[in-house]
């Protein structure tokens, strides 16, 4: 295989499994070339990715030597992605009876999620989470994409416990908006204690769910190292959590004039 062929193959392997560390020796076996030749190949890939902002290729020096890929986005790319999402969410036909808006297509579309997962991963990677935790149902796709970018497992907390899960820990919590008592439950086996967890959800009003998830993590003796929500509403003003990262703010749903106002979060 010539250099150009090797580069195609190595790029494919790196991109397909973000964060996986490949040893130079693995590639040397596959392609039958020396490690110094491979180092040159990797330098070319790193240069090309750097020049076009295609993510980060990190080479690890030392006795073994290796390489891995991070699908990190630049600040400009994050701004562009979030602006596109705002436009999409402002489509007036999303308005539902009662002033709700229909977002299921956005939060379940592999196309839109690809970058939303990468945004959360870019932001939270340095906190070294070991699990992404979400609560069923709508937040699961966003959480899975985040977990994929970080190459860590996803844990799904249930609203109701099901018999096939084995022993579960169940907790009641107060929903922030409706002030109703709700239930969360999670299998005892789902999380190793003392883990560092990243909470991800699709939609936050008062933050009761994130508050409840945080308390549940305490019961598992796990540390919440970050909290991310895709959409945060402007109402109510008082939130039950403070140190969370929202991507967009849903400011207003004006049913009368069929207008939705969505803005990028302040940090964007």
């Amino acid at each position: 295989m010539r250099r150009a062929h090797r580069i195609a193959a190595i790029t494919k392997m790196l991109v397909e499994q973000p964060q996986r560390v490949y040893a130079l020796g693995d590639f040397a076996d596959i392609f039958g070339v020396s490690r110094s030749t491979l180092s040159e190949d990797l330098a070319i890939i790193r240069q090309a990715f750097g020049q076009l902002d295609l993510g980060l290729v990190e080479t690890i020096s030392g006795a073994i030597g290796g390489v891995r890929y991070f699908p990190d986005l630049t600040e400009a790319q994050i701004r562009e992605e979030i602006s596109k999402v705002c436009e999409l969410l402002e489509e007036p036909q999303r308005i539902l009876p009662g002033g709700f808006i229909f977002i299921d297509d956005v939060i379940s579309s592999p196309f839109h999620l690809r970058n939303i997962g990468n945004i959360f991963a870019t932001y939270f990677r340095s906190r070294e989470p070991e699990y992404v935790v979400t609560v069923e149902t709508a937040g699961i796709p966003v959480a899975l994409k985040t977990a994929s970018s970080l190459k860590i497992p996803l844990v799904i907390v249930r609203r109701q416990s099901r018999v096939a899960e084995g022993p579960v820990l169940t907790m009641r919590f107060l929903s922030g908006t409706a002030r109703q008592i709700e239930t969360m439950s999670l299998s005892r086996r789902a999380l190793a204690s003392k883990s560092r967890v990243l909470l991800i959800d699709d939609f936050m009003r008062a933050g009761g769910t994130l508050r409840g998830l945080t308390d549940l993590m305490g019961e598992f003796d796990c540390e919440v190292v970050g909290k991310g929500v895709f959409i945060e509403t402007g109402w109510p003003k008082e939130k039950l959590v403070t140190d969370h990262l929202a991507l967009v703010y849903l400011k207003e749903v004006d049913v009368e004039n069929q207008k939705v106002l969505v803005q990028p979060a302040d940090w964007v």
Copy 2:
């Protein structure tokens, strides 16, 4: 940018968005080279992928000319992936009280799902589904990965309807195993009528859920072009659906001797 740099960048773009058609003109603009030079680049990528079984790079000829990537697996790769999953599921510590087995870590791990989604996509691509449809909760990650590989939207059917979804169609159905009446509901806006849909779920006993989903698709005037389940149990013998594709069979959970027996499906 030299050829090797271009190949790194083009490979990254292709792999990251399976099924997306890139026009040669798009690449010509980015790299400032002629279409014939790009055709040579793409031939190299195609050769490298072909030689190492890294998926299919398809060039589209004609006036516009384009290229796209399919993350298809070979039969040998599918067999290997499914064998690994069987081994994983046979770990005796998965046995739960009541003879259930714990599978949440397998069906939520981005690492294992990556290839499970590609297996379903490889098998069902030719039926040209327009949506992947699943029912909450545990099947969502597998379904999302399948939808990503096929580059089509995911639609999640709810067990209970929530107020923020707008008008929903609700249906009762009889669960196959427990013979209980259960509920499914789906937002009226979630699916365009006359669509071709692929049903994906994580676990099938009698098949009552898949049967119910099929009936629900009929109410939306959609055609079910395929049904895939990750794990099918050997019991009960009588199934409520027949033309589905399972990846593995859970033959036996022997609580006494702490043994789980899982086999690849017959077609593998």
